[in-house]
Symmetry: C2
Subunit: 143 residues, 2 copies
DNA sequence: TCAATATGGTAAGTATACGTATCATATTTT
DNA sequence: AAAATATGATACGTATACTTACCATATTGA
């Protein structure tokens, strides 16, 4: 054929397709949720439940996004009434973030669904393979 | 702590971060390339070199994207002068795609860099682990 | 053959994602 | 304290990504 490597064997391509599958499964399952969230929005709510009062920069660093992206995500969560934003008293540049009551409720309702859907993302693998895979990914993205 | 699963252990989150690393490595290496391509643009060129004359729908299916996304990708490649688009004679709805001379040259220059960068994406893993990882991903995204 | 259906492409809308620049405010350095 | 630097947030630009709707053209079926 050609001397070029097959695209379908390249890590980058395979990883992209797996991520695609992951987001597709997430979106599909969320269709039947009381509050429809994207996976990024869920991640943000999850972190804010654990660490209320952090600012956007810290939120971004905790879920590994850049500030610009998180700004928009938070804006949408605020518009949905799930997150409240407030100018920090210690640092007037920063906005501290908190879940609203509605945000807490949404997270509580959605969390079990999200936990359940995780296995489906790797549904083509046996349980042993899933565990192995997760070990490898954790190592691959390690700081 | 809480009863919720740790985000950092969830497949979806880990896969997203790995994909993030993958695209970051790609973009970083491309900065020193003669023609700067995104990974999707590279994938499109690669497929068109192997199968000249296919239309956008077929291209989309071969690299696992939807038609709308590929439409924009092709538009940008056409604007860069790397791909030529032509109304199909067999099917007037379809546009057949071909690399231009410039597109061929760009692909030839970039292909070795792309092949080389793949190992870096999984650079935190040993070679044996990389092979293992790829086997698992291939199985996970299998049709 | 003509209606029903399917398919290729585009348009519009939404949501990521990131780089760079800019502004406001903090912190550090001199 | 003034200057230099760093940092939080936003704005803007570019590029994915996917859904739904729509138009044009093909194919299928009655």
């Amino acid at each position: 054929m050609t001397s070029r490597d097959d695209l379908g064997q390249m890590p980058g391509h395979l990883i992209r397709r797996l991520n695609q599958r992951s987001t597709a499964v997430f979106a599909e399952r969320m269709k039947s949720a009381p509050v429809e969230l994207t996976s990024v929005q869920y991640a943000a709510l999850d972190v804010l439940a654990r660490e209320p009062g952090i600012d956007q920069a810290r939120l971004a660093s905790l879920i590994a996004y850049d500030r610009a992206t998180i700004g928009d995500v938070v804006k949408r969560l605020e518009r949905k009434g799930l997150v409240a934003r407030q100018v920090s008293e210690q640092d007037r540049r920063a906005r501290t973030l908190r879940l609203t009551g509605e945000g807490e409720a949404a997270l509580a309702q959605v969390a079990p669904m999200v936990a359940a859907l995780q296995a489906e993302i790797l549904g083509k693998l046996t349980e042993a393979e899933q565990a192995q895979f997760l070990d490898l990914v954790r190592k691959a993205v390690e700081a």
